[in-house]
């Protein structure tokens, strides 16, 4: 049993290694995570230190990405922005994962009226297009980092629930679940010991892809002024300020966006690669 599991993950790893996009995505993600964790070491300057004499300077040796209107070093702000963005999105996706997996398992495993009610509820949440649901939640709770986590977790969990439910529907009819039932295991124990672990792979793919969406949503909300508040370094917040000074300092509009784009691209590529490695038949479509 142990052997078999190790070889199957080895096959998946090998498939991943052949996928150039996935490798690129993984490298980008690792790089951003590294920068986020070691921001104080990596950043050349203090991202909050103002120098009004050096306001809106274009890129130079001293400030590779230039300076913003308060004379703060944009490179350092972009680096600290990774920290803000990744910490919020990781926490939100983790909550959404747990919440979604629980709801999906219960709905799929028990079925019936409970499943119907839960799924209709998810339909309602998914009827709010794009970041509108997140906007609605922030409108109610008010801006701020913790509310941002709540908003993004609620906005992301229906996808996890959907994926989990689909897996639970097939798993509950499998022989090993039947065997577990026959020896008298409780429903709870079956869900935790058999249903959940066997549905982990598609959930992980979903988690990677949802990280991309979460990062996008955080910066989108912050761009609208509904997310992270200035002066805290965040890509969307900094882009909102850049928008005001585009005419005189276009460089401000480039770098935070580039960091944001690369992060999202990294998670998307890695997630797609993971998906292809887990479902090789879907590959060429």
């Amino acid at each position: 049993m142990r052997m078999k599991k190790r070889t199957s993950s080895l096959i998946i790893l090998k498939r991943m290694a052949r996928n150039k996009g996935a490798i690129f995505g993984l490298i980008v993600v690792l790089l951003i995570v590294f920068v986020a964790i070691f921001a104080p070491v990596v950043a050349p300057k203090d991202p909050y230190k103002q120098d009004l004499l050096a306001s809106l300077e274009p890129p130079s040796w001293k400030h590779p990405f230039g300076t913003d209107v308060f004379g703060r070093d944009v490179l350092s702000r972009v680096i600290y922005g990774a920290r803000t963005s990744l910490s919020i999105s990781a926490l939100a996706v983790l909550i959404a994962f747990v919440l979604g997996a629980s709801v999906g398992t219960v709905a799929g495993y028990f079925g019936g009226v409970l499943d119907e009610v839960l799924m209709r509820f998810l339909d309602v949440l998914m009827a709010f297009p794009d970041i509108l649901l997140a906007i609605a939640i922030v409108a109610a709770l008010g801006p701020g980092k913790i509310n941002l986590v709540v908003a993004i977790a609620i906005y992301s969990f229906p996808q996890f629930a959907r994926v989990m439910r689909a897996s639970a529907l097939t798993i509950k009819n499998s022989e090993y679940v039947e065997a577990a039932k026959a020896i008298g295991e409780s429903s709870f124990s079956i869900m935790v010991r058999y249903v959940l672990p066997n549905a982990l792979a598609p959930l992980l793919v979903q988690a990677t892809l949802r990280m991309a969406t979460a990062v996008l949503t955080i910066s989108g909300l912050s761009f609208l002024g509904l997310g992270v508040k200035p002066p805290e370094a965040e890509w969307g917040t900094d882009l909102a300020m850049a928008r005001v000074y585009l005419e005189i300092a276009p460089h401000l509009g480039i770098f935070p966006g580039l960091a944001l784009f690369l992060t999202v691209l990294g998670f998307n590529l890695f997630g797609d690669g993971l998906n292809d490695a887990l479902n090789p038949r879907l590959k060429d479509r």
């Binding site: 009827a127 794009d130 761009f223 969307g236 882009l239 585009l246 966006g257 784009f261 999202v264 691209l265």
Partner: protein
């Protein structure tokens, strides 16, 4: 077909009611007293009390919800900030968003479908590679950054177009291009996949074996069948554009519904927020229904079930 339409319409009712409940709840999820928040800082107890009675905030929630819904239908519900009927306030904004979304969907369909067809027909050519990279970049592109980049290029550097506001057609180009480019990536990806699938079908192989010219096979048989899923994706994207326009509208100062909702959050006009969000979500649901019906119309197999 009639049975299918009726069934879909009936299924719509609980979702629309659910959407209205969630939208209504926004004001009641606020931690603290909504009357106090509407009154703002420095309000006296009397102010808060009068607001509470004025908006019926002292009534049971069910009654408040029914009053809210009735107020929308009869257009008696008024914006907190401007005191004008809320629909009178929102409908012109909605028209602006719809205009933007409509032009964007035309742009993205033209770019997406063309790119998808060409890259499927000339598989593994440079244009196919370009189209794959384009889709990949498009899917990961933050829409507001794309807008900023287009402003830097066309408004700041080249000075061809204005960077924001509403006026003549020149004000519509950049926001529509921003939204259009972002969605064309998904349409291109879908068109390519759908074309490749049809190209591999037995009946296509058969007509090729019969000796029909490749060009004719593609236009007469492949395209027509490959377009069915593409129509769905385009329809779904249109729905997303209605909601996703929020960010684009903010970048370009386009006076649409999404931006109005965000402005209303800042001015604590919760009625405008509730109704605005409900309007966007409901139109999204309606567009999705329309897409399903069109889909069933083109592909009779789907009418069952």
């Amino acid at each position: 077909m009639l049975k299918f339409v009726v069934r879909r319409l009936l299924l719509l009712i609980p979702v629309v009611i659910g959407v209205s409940i969630v939208s209504f709840s926004i004001m009641h999820m606020i931690p603290g007293d909504p009357a106090r928040i509407i009154a703002g800082e420095g309000a006296t107890i009397e102010d808060i009390m009068s607001i509470r009675t004025k908006y019926g905030l002292d009534r049971p929630l069910i009654e408040q919800y029914l009053r809210f819904m009735k107020g929308i239908i009869t257009n008696d519900l008024r914006s907190i900030r401007t005191e004008r009927p809320i629909l009178t306030e929102l409908l012109p904004r909605f028209a602006n968003t719809a205009q933007l979304a409509l032009v964007s969907i035309v742009i993205s369909s033209v770019i997406g479908v063309t790119l998808g067809i060409v890259s499927a027909v000339k598989r593994n050519s440079w244009i196919d590679t370009f189209s794959m990279v384009f889709s990949l970049v498009g899917v990961s592109m933050p829409i507001f950054w794309l807008g900023i980049l287009l402003i830097i290029l066309f408004a700041v550097t080249l000075r061809w177009l204005p960077s924001g506001g509403k006026g003549g057609i020149e004000h519509l180009i950049l926001p529509a291009l921003t939204l259009g480019l972002a969605t064309s990536a998904i349409i291109a990806r879908m068109t390519r996949a759908s074309m490749l699938e049809v190209l591999n079908q037995d009946y296509v192989r058969t007509v090729v074996a019969f000796g029909l010219p490749r060009r004719k096979v593609i236009y007469k048989y492949v395209l027509r069948n490959a377009m069915i899923p593409v129509v769905t994706v385009i329809g779904l994207q249109f729905g997303y554009l209605l909601g996703g326009a929020v960010l684009t509208e903010s970048v370009f100062g386009w006076p649409g519904l999404g931006r109005f909702v965000v402005d209303s959050i800042f001015s604590r006009d919760y009625i405008a927020v509730q109704v605005g969000i409900m309007m966007i979500a409901t139109s999204f649901v309606l567009v999705n229904l329309l897409v399903d019906l069109v889909y069933a119309l083109i592909d009779p197999r789907l009418r069952r079930g």
